[in-house]
Structure formats: C-alpha cells, structure tokens
Symmetry: C2
Subunit: 212 residues, 2 copies
Amino acid sequence: MLELAILGLLQEAPMHGYELRKELTAKLGAIRAAISYGSLYPTLRRLQAAGWITEAAEAPATAEEVPALTSRRGRVVYTITAEGKERFAQLIAQAGPETYDDTGFGVHFAFFARTDQATRLRILEGRRRKIEERREGLRDVLGRAAERLDAYTLELQRHGLDACEREVRWLEELIANERSGRAPADPRPGTAGGRGDNDSPPTPGTSRKERP
Amino acid sequence: MLELAILGLLQEAPMHGYELRKELTAKLGAIRAAISYGSLYPTLRRLQAAGWITEAAEAPATAEEVPALTSRRGRVVYTITAEGKERFAQLIAQAGPETYDDTGFGVHFAFFARTDQATRLRILEGRRRKIEERREGLRDVLGRAAERLDAYTLELQRHGLDACEREVRWLEELIANERSGRAPADPRPGTAGGRGDNDSPPTPGTSRKERP
DNA sequence: GTGCGATGTATCGGTCCGATACATCGCGGT
DNA sequence: ACCGCGATGTATCGGACCGATACATCGCAC
C-alpha cells in the first residue's frame, strides 16, 4: 500500500522523505493517521533497489544561491523512474483482496484521478460488496446474538452498522456518478478539480449532499 | 490490544483458540475484520509464558461422554488466572495514546461493561479530543489546500470529515449519557443489556436515534 | 464411501508502527 | 550576543499484526 502511495505521489513531483510524509498525510489524512518513518524509509530503500525510483543528494539550487556557506547536508530527493510509472499503473489496475479493505481502498481512491474509469468502477463496486458483507455480519450479530452481548458492545455494533450503511450510500452515489456523469460532485461550485495532469476533467455538481 | 481483548474474553469463560477467534470477531466486528491466527496463537503463547492464562488439553466431558472412541485430539482450552484478571484490570484502567486510536478505542469500548464509570468517561473524552483533532486537520486541508488536490481526493476528505463529525456527535451523546444517566441507550425497548456479570445495569432509552 | 465445508492448531515472511537517536535551521527572548 | 526551542530532516530497531499456508479431524449430504 505504501509502495503504491509513494509511487503515486512521486509522479507529481520529486520529493525528499520528510516532504513525502507531509504530502502523504495531507492526501490520506481521511483514512489513516500519519505514516511512520519506520515504514517510509525502508520502503523507499526497497523501491530504489527495485529500480522504481532513484535517489540523489540535493544540489544547491542554481549553483548560485547560497553556494557553499554551510555545506548543505542531507536531503535526499527521490525521483520516479519510467519503470516506476509502469509499476504504478500496474498496481493501480490490478485489484487484489487488499484493494477493498479500509486502507487499501482509501489509497486507491486517493489516486482515482490517475485511474481509468473502468477500474474506478470495479474498485467502487468491490468496496461496496465488502462493506455490504460487513454490514450483514453486524446485522446478524445485532439480531441473533444480541442477548449474549452487553449494552456497550451492542452500541458499538450499532454505530458500526450505521457507518456501514452510510458508506454504502456514499458508494452508490459515486458509482451512479461514475456510470453516467463524471468526477465526483463538487458541493460548492466555483472551485473545480485538480490541475493540469488530471485524468478526469472536473464536471459541475451532479449529486447533492443529502438533507432532502 | 489483542492481549487486552483475549484477557477480557477469557474472563467470561474458558475457551480454545478457534472459539476465541469467533467471539473476538463477534465482539469486535464493528471495528476490525477478523483477527488472524498468525497473531492469536503467538499472543496466547506469550500470555501463558507471562502467567496471565493457563492452557490445558481438553478433557472428555464428564469422563463418561464418548470415552475414548477416537482419542480426542487437540483442542487446547485457555483459562484466565488470578494474575491475568489483575493484568486485565490494570490494562483497562491505564490509558496510553494507543487507547484512543481506532482499534484501541474500539477494544476498550467493547469492555466498558467491565470498566468503572470514571475510566469510561476519561476514555470517551480522550477519544473525542483525538477525533476533533483529526477533524480540524481535515478542515484545514479542505480549506487551505483544496486547490492543490484533485476532485477525488477532496471527496475522500469530505467523506472522512463527515465521519468525524458524526463520531464526535456520537461521543457527545455517550458522554452526556455517562455523566448523568447510565449505560448506552437501547433504541428498541424490550431487549435489555448483558447477563449477570454486567457491571452497568441497563437503563431504558435516554437518547434517540436521529431522523427528526 | 467419499468428498467437502466447518472445526481446529500452528508457523513463516513481510508490512507497518512507535520509540528513539541525532543533526541543522531560523526565530524569538533575554 | 547567546540560548533554547520548534520545525525540518534522515535513519534504525524491536515488536505487533496480517495473509498465506500446511495439516488433521468431524459430521453430513450425495
């Protein structure tokens, strides 16, 4: 998962580790806390060994800015290679079971702008299926096994069930949107999608936030 | 986390691994998929080494049922020890930072019936604080960094923000409930809380499910 | 009588996290 | 003039947990 995320981010611009972590946190903030350096650096090492990225010590700007005042230590900048881009495309397209768990889905979704529509649809439907299964499991427990569990555990299940139902509805909306319209709806018209390299041209609101 | 969950479950009844996993899945189904044997068995080993639990090969029922027809292979039953119960109480009471992440909070919450009210309150408030922080982070990104991100990433953040706001509201409700009333509300009167060993006597509905 | 899904125990490699260590930079305070 | 301190920055280590895999038994339906 981390591999995919790193490859995806480096495709937008070369970065060093610290920056990468910040961008990662910004992009995936909705689904996970903050990725640890204990994962990041080893993974970067692995990616470099595989040839998907290259690392290079940072050069002092235009060789004119602050020339050699303080020796400019550290700062390794990582750049994606052509093979790395291929690898990314391959990872994005092929969906394993881990593509549909919370983290995996989040990461894939975060790079939907670089994913073709067919794949987007496949992933959204796979995720929906998975959440529906979880939902059914929770309904079972709340129905059949309710008297075996204490009030707090039941409340936890109810909250989880609620979240499942809500996510299914969200996915339905996205799927419908994906099938006919395009890109996700922007509830506040005015600011439209990504910049330049965006795969899916931003289209104004199709779906609306609830509260009928 | 697994340690806490196992200790908690074994406090209700002795069990063997497979059963333990099923109960774990039922109790924690709302927050995590299903715990792996690759974690379960090593942890059981660890708990036994520490003296929190004991393991024993299963005895054939009353020494009368199906005496020795098929030799009765395997099936190791784990029982919690007095030290294990102490350990559980200690783990429940002391709250580290991991107590407030998704999994940690879920496990603690699942054993609220065995937790005193002061600790429950402390944990609920800690969790709320954490989610509020995550919420602020998402609001920041959606506000300040919106134009740097593509439409899909933004949609993901919005969904995450929504989930945060919802969870904060849920927690508020539970906290209010905890402060004056007792146990979580039961939206469907008729089935009331746990059985016998339940710490918090079930009290009929205080809060209501929304949909005004 | 046989295959097959549920029950049951167990290990191995790999991913990722949390704690920790260490160095530099720019800024405000005194 | 100096100091501390928070942000920037790279890096490792032990441990928790997962997913795949292996293997054996039980009961039941075909």
